[in-house]
């Protein structure tokens, strides 16, 4: 949105933490069970039951805090956020309010101007998820499924540092990448493990104070984040340019219609009556704990990206793609370590052909039907010129179909490259003899016909002739 208006965006990302048990009870967090089979008395909010904090969520939150260079609060407090809703069994959500466990972090994205841009992270706090209201299948009533109630969430709140939908998505992807690197969340957006609320406002460029914001709730894909924010920006600019005022409100994004709709205004907003939860002790974290967690941190995406550039001499853009997920980067390193081909060739294959197939089939790289060693085997045959790049694609597809290793397929299909010059010459001679017209045209100066001759030779050899050699021989004979 260049021009008169400046867009200001802040994101609140809700990450489901990958613990086996819930944040305040021993019930399982596994996804997709029969309704209400993974809700114990604590999750159901029965009279007399009490929450007990799962220490694992603290460790995960600290891990995140360290990964984004944040302050870990030595003492944080769980508070009650009070409101009535049928899928909120206790009538309050246990969350952190005044004293969150993580404060003042940062990360870097590629800004719209192409430079690295620092995005501040205001805070990250622990809280429990609510259950789910089910409206289908109950006639006039509503069903409640409390399996999700008490699932641990880390809510990550950014500073209003983002200036476009694109930057917002870049930031969200970065957080997504970090939580998966840290293995504190599976980041599964379809299952709701990673979702965000976007606070969007616009103001005249140069104005200091922020415009009135709207909060778009519950965006669960990168694409929706981008579209919802762009719609919202247009909507707000339209309102202002019409001389009206933007209303502070909560809005919902409808992906079918690609629009945001008002959900509730500020006046209708709840007074949540936050106060410290007297059932839970303050979370106290000492330095030795923080240091112990720090020791468990993996290499993070930014550091790994730089290492890939330095160590493997990759193009920066490729290094960024390869380090977006830990599994992706691990796969790359496994291939690069096992092949004689250059790392850049390995990168090209992974980012190109392999990613295309993975996307097409819809599986993750760790489930790839061609493992890193197998791909390395294929790249070796390219490197030693056993096969051409073109033939390699055929072999690659055969490998994906489970026909065996690169070597086995090359042997079985007799795909080995013809590099014997005398054999190629014979075929070239035959092609020249069969196409006197084209030979004459070529000799008359139509050099573009070189491709025609090469194509004919490749056709004759089933694509197995070494293209470079073919080129050279044809040129010699026709020159």
């Amino acid at each position: 949105m260049s021009g008169r208006w400046e867009v200001v965006i802040g994101l609140e990302i809700h990450t489901q933490l990958a613990t086996r048990a819930k944040i305040f009870s021993g019930a399982s967090t596994a996804y997709g069970a029969e309704p209400n089979t993974q809700a114990c008395l604590v999750d159901l909010g029965y009279p007399g039951v009490l929450p007990v904090l799962n220490g694992e969520v603290v460790r995960m939150a600290v891990k995140f805090g360290l990964a984004v260079n944040a302050t870990i609060a030595p003492r944080s407090i769980f508070a009650r956020k009070n409101y009535f809703y049928p899928d909120l069994p206790k009538g309050y959500q246990i969350s952190q309010y005044e004293l969150p466990i993580v404060e003042a972090g940062e990360l870097f994205i590629h800004g719209d101007d192409g430079n690295d841009k620092r995005i501040g992270i205001t805070r990250a706090h622990l809280e429990e998820d609510a259950g789910k209201s089910v409206h289908e299948g109950f006639g006039n009533s509503t069903g409640i499924d409390l399996n999700r109630a008490g699932t641990p969430l880390l809510e990550i709140v950014s500073e209003p540092d983002l200036r476009s939908a694109k930057e917002a998505v870049a930031y969200m992807r970065k957080i997504h990448s970090i939580v998966r690197y840290l293995e504190i969340s599976d980041g599964n957006m379809q299952e709701g493990s990673f979702r965000c609320d976007a606070n969007v406002s616009v103001r005249p460029r140069g104005q200091k104070e922020l415009g009135t914001r709207a909060e778009i709730k519950n965006l669960n894909s990168f694409r929706f984040v981008e579209k919802a924010i762009n719609f919202e920006i247009e909507r707000q600019i339209g309102i202002i340019e019409d001389g009206r005022e933007v209303v502070q409100e909560t809005r919902l994004y409808d992906s079918d219609k690609d629009e945001t709709r008002s959900m509730r205004s500020k006046e209708e907003a709840n007074d949540y009556r936050y106060f410290p939860d007297p059932d839970l002790l303050p979370v106290e974290i000492d330095e030795s704990y923080v240091e112990a967690v720090r020791k468990t941190l993996p290499e993070l995406p930014d550091v790994k990206q730089q290492r890939f550039i330095d160590q493997y001499e990759l193009k920066p853009a490729d290094a960024e793609i390869l380090t977006a997920s830990r599994a992706f980067s691990d796969y790359f390193e496994d291939v690069a370590g096992a092949t004689d081909a250059t790392a850049q060739v390995a990168a090209n294959w992974i980012i190109g052909d392999l990613s295309a197939l993975l996307n097409k089939v819809g599986i993750e790289i760790q489930d790839s039907k061609i493992d890193a060693n197998a791909l390395a085997g294929l790249l070796d045959r390219i490197a030693d010129k056993t096969i051409s790049g073109k033939i390699a694609k055929e072999v690659f597809e055969a490998m994906w179909s489970g026909e065996g290793s690169a070597d086995a397929i090359i042997a079985a299909k007799d795909l080995e490259q013809i590099t014997d010059a005398s054999a190629i010459e014979k075929i070239v001679d035959a092609v020249i003899a069969a196409n006197p017209g084209q030979v004459a045209e070529y000799r008359a100066g139509k050099e573009k016909l070189l491709g025609f001759f090469v194509g004919q030779v490749m056709k004759e050899t089933g694509g197995k002739a070494n293209p470079g050699q073919v080129n050279k021989i044809i040129k010699g004979k026709l020159g």
Binding site: L41, P47, G48, V52, F84, P86, P89, K90, G91, R273
Partner: protein, 490 residues
């Protein structure tokens, strides 16, 4: 008298001896008390539920265990529970209509530990609705009568437990104390009421009123019995994060510690114009008795204690307004008929389910937590609470226990204070401080004023249950107030 004689006149200790010596069986004991509950319970309205059949089964098992030498510390001894302890398979009402029909699928930790020690549960006692009251008049199941005079209140909120013990229907009952709900009814019925240190006994399975103040305890006729029960109930519970992992001493063994040398603090502010003159005289006599036994009396100040009632009536309602949100008609308890929509479901289920006092406190609590009022009320109350705690801490640098009146008057008439909540709230003026500071307190009978019991309160430092129990026990060795029961229930 408490250790021998008629079964119902005996203390737990006396019953335990009787069982051990084969004077009677657990079944005979249980039958005798059930028969008394049947005869006298209804007139007092002390019970919400009597679990006669289950009790007899437990008693038979206890007899077998005793015969085979497998008995625990309380095997075959009777107990009743205040009806806010969740009991598996037995309804738990909390004295409220909103829990009508609610049967807990689990046992509270207190219930579980007492059962494991062999105690036989005879039933569940009446109480102020959600423990909110000082007279047991807010119960949906009706007011409880004081065995000393049935027109009078037994105090509250553990009124049913206190009345049952005072009338010799049972030797011991559990209770809970958020602002005096064990000690005040004990004082008004001539029984012993022990509220332990906050965190000493697990709150798991207690329907919460005010989580930072609630504490489970017991009502008995002797400090010795209270010590026996506390030893079983106390201790860390991983299901309650606020329970404290602090060693549990042998409270019974600790009872023999003499009063001699004990420094007893007398709070100047406790003997002001709010205290009935005759009650004051009884309390002073009991202090003199302690002094005579070798204790030294030290006058102390608790400068901020006068703020304890207003502080309490901000903190407790704030917590209750949130704790009671789960009673929404969605998952358990009362639900209104034919709700039109969600809001109607909430409003009518809660409107019909809660009584006036509970509603008053939910509204007060909602108000003090609201945006714009939080700092002025809730936050300020928490600060004053810190000051009150500090006052106690300073005092305990000079004295071992603090002694004084439990309640400002003897039992008052049913209906006398129901129109004036503030006067009712002032009944807890001497007890609330211990809750705000999380301290253990005990009320022990110290005489009569116009034929009605008066209680002496002893408050100790955190986890000094041994000290206050020993002091109360030694006092009971010097006096026999606890042996005097209401004639009608002799």
């Amino acid at each position: 008298m408490t250790t021998s004689g008629a079964i119902h006149q005996r203390s737990l200790r006396g019953l335990s001896d009787g069982l051990s010596q084969g004077e009677f069986s657990c079944r005979e004991l249980t039958e005798a008390l059930l028969s008394r509950i049947e005869s006298y319970g209804p007139a007092l309205n002390a019970f919400i539920t009597v679990t006669a059949d289950a009790a007899l089964l437990q008693a038979d098992r206890a007899d077998k265990d005793r015969a085979s030498g497998k008995s625990g510390p309380l095997t075959g001894l009777p107990i009743v529970h205040k009806d806010l302890f969740c009991t598996r398979g037995v309804r738990t009402t909390c004295g409220s209509n909103i829990l009508g029909g609610f049967v807990s699928p689990y046992d509270a930790t207190v219930v579980e530990r007492l059962a494991e020690a062999g105690a036989v549960m005879l039933g569940k006692t009446n109480m102020d609705e959600f423990a909110m009251g000082s007279s047991n008049e807010t119960s949906f199941y009706g007011a409880v009568s004081n065995p000393w005079n049935k027109r009078l209140s037994p105090g509250g909120s553990s009124g049913g437990s206190a009345a049952a013990v005072a009338a010799r229907l049972v030797p011991a009952a559990t209770g809970t104390d958020t602002g005096g709900s064990i000690r005040q009814p004990a004082a008004l019925t001539g029984t012993v009421g022990l509220k332990p240190t906050y965190g000493r006994v697990s709150r798991y399975g207690m329907v919460a009123f005010a989580s930072s103040l609630d504490q489970a305890g017991v009502i008995t006729r002797t400090a010795e019995d209270a010590a026996m029960l506390l030893g079983v109930m106390a201790g860390f519970d991983e299901r309650d994060s606020t329970s404290v992992n602090h060693p549990v001493p042998d409270y019974v063994a600790g009872l023999s510690k003499p009063v001699k040398g004990l420094k007893v603090g007398i709070v100047r502010q406790h003997f002001d114009e709010g205290l009935d003159a005759v009650c004051a005289a009884r309390v002073r006599e009991s202090l003199a008795a302690l002094e005579e036994a070798g204790a030294s009396l030290v006058e102390i100040d608790l400068p901020n204690i006068g703020l304890s009632v207003p502080t309490y009536y901000v903190v407790a309602p704030a917590e209750c307004s949130s704790n009671l949100s789960r009673f929404d008609g969605v998952r358990f308890g009362h639900r209104c008929d034919d709700p039109e929509d969600l809001l109607d479901l909430y409003c009518r289920s809660r409107g019909e389910g809660f009584g006036a006092e509970v509603k008053r406190r939910i509204m007060t609590g909602t108000y003090v937590l609201s945006a714009g009022y939080y700092d002025a009320y809730y936050l300020k109350a928490q600060k004053v609470r810190q000051l009150i705690s500090r006052d106690f801490k300073n005092a305990f640098e000079k004295v071992d226990v603090i002694a004084g009146p439990t309640a400002p008057t003897t039992a008052f008439a049913i209906g006398e204070k129901t129109d004036d909540p503030i006067t009712m709230y002032l009944n807890d003026i001497y007890t609330i401080g211990a809750n705000l500071a999380g301290l253990p307190g005990i009320s022990v009978p110290c005489g009569f004023a116009d034929g009605l019991p008066v209680g002496l309160q002893l408050v100790g430092p955190h986890f000094a249950e041994e000290t206050i129990l020993a002091c109360a026990h030694q006092y009971q060795q010097l006096t026999s107030w606890h042996d005097e029961g209401p004639e009608e229930f002799a």
